[in-house]
Symmetry: C2
Subunit: 280 residues, 2 copies
């Protein structure tokens, strides 16, 4: 029986869409996990009622979290993903032939198992011999690990509840320590259009700048996320994401993508004035 | 009494938001005109129930329709706006000191009168001695006019009902004829994320390319329009919007803007791969 679901972006607004069926619903140890079948977006994954992933546009978020950082590094071999349980980011990292190991540290194993069942195009990554999945708290992992990575990607939910610490300075300092020399950290940092969540943008920017010599932000148009515009922040110890050789690498790799491309890589860092004002 | 309004982007999805009051409601000769007061977006203008304008983000659409075309022309003096009854585009055109005359041809005078009352920050343009408002059918006007313009901006509603002809080849041919040598035509061409409306993107692109030697598309993130991503197409008889001198002009003008800036001007033309595929 068809019904309408609303993904609230604030108490006063939301994205509403028709659903034809609830394909899955469970309460894990951490959150409510649901999969809906919808005419507008295909299958949709919700965590505690918040839209995480849709079949028709997951490529935007995952390509834009993974590829800018990976291509900004001249030889990314070891990659750490914090969160990202649906394996969409993992799938894109594994497209890079230089990568020899990807460790994904996800809090909730059930998110991964449910995603792998209902979004099988993202599940192939799990069987890649270069991939390791660890179901544990990302904050504790990064604090304690002795391993060093070339790129760390933070693929978190919104900064409320368990994910809040993923937007804080102590976690960023631990990430900095877990990077190889010349490593790159990249994270999603919410929608600049939503003041209630967007205030983290400036806080995160200042915290990253206190740790990294080079911090640059870029945007992507993610139609099913809050207000359709999403900000990412890339923090680097050395490599500039806007250097000309990044474009050369993108061309040479010739990855199959649906959102990301060489020209867009550079264009995405050119931000609207109202977003620039949040990054001071 | 508070209620929720949904702006449907297809039969299966929409933007839903709380409204605190209906400030105005009337049936004009052409359409239903409503103004709502909302906590998320301030005042909101609806035409036949479709969201046209919000107080908090109108700057995005209007800056991005007016400024790229105006700055791509070395000396825009005479400007024609088709549609744009709320006067938001007119306001931005009048920020350009080279402009000596702006003619706005809007079908429905009531849209302008209601907008001027409820969005007074856009109404100041009406009193500018360089502005003339003509309430008439834009298609007929462009077909019959003997006047020539440096820049023509098409600020239309969606391609259904009275606005459909504004997305068709005969109208574009009349616009081409109404341009001075080296003139520029720029128009909104819907959301690349919405297949139901997005199919016009390719049709418009092909029609423009048959008339103009240079046609380039660019995007803006408009949070309250369909799917949050909007495409514009700029057709030029000579001047390239990506030429270096455009940036020099933007810097020299130093306009007060909230979305548009020099870097963003160039970045906006770098399109996602799935959008590029619609432009063939």
């Amino acid at each position: 029986m068809a019904f309408w679901h609303t993904d609230y972006h604030s108490p006063h607004r939301g994205l509403t869409f028709e659903a034809e069926a609830v394909l899955h619903s469970e309460q894990s140890a951490f959150q409510k996990i649901e999969v809906l079948q919808t005419p507008a977006f295909g299958k949709v994954l919700l965590l505690d009622g918040v839209l995480m992933l849709t079949e028709t546009d997951e490529f935007t978020y995952h390509e834009m979290l993974a590829h800018p950082a990976l291509f900004s590094h001249p030889d990314p071999q070891k990659v750490l993903i914090i969160g990202g349980g649906d394996c969409g980011t993992l799938t894109r990292v594994l497209q890079h032939s230089s990568v020899s190991r990807v460790l994904m540290v996800e809090l909730d194993e059930r998110v991964t198992r449910v995603s792998n069942r209902f979004f099988p195009e993202l599940a192939t990554a799990v069987d890649d011999p270069r991939a390791e999945l660890l179901f544990a708290d990302g904050i504790g992992f990064v604090r304690d690990t002795e391993e060093r990575f070339d790129v760390i990607l933070i693929d978190s939910t919104d900064p409320v509840g368990p994910a809040e610490g993923l937007f804080r300075a102590p976690f960023f300092a631990d990430c900095h320590r877990a990077l190889n020399p010349h490593g790159i950290l990249c994270l999603q940092s919410e929608s600049p259009w939503i003041p209630e969540l967007g205030k983290v943008i400036g806080e995160v920017h200042r915290d990253l700048r206190s740790l990294f010599p080079l911090v640059k932000a870029y945007c992507a148009a993610i139609q099913t996320y809050q207000a359709g515009l999403w900000l990412f922040q890339l923090a680097s110890t050395l490599h500039d994401p806007l250097a000309p050789e990044v474009g050369t690498r993108i061309n040479r790799a010739g990855l199959e993508t649906r959102y990301y491309n060489r020209e867009l890589h550079y264009g995405a860092f050119k931000l609207p004035t109202f977003v620039l004002k949040q990054l001071v």
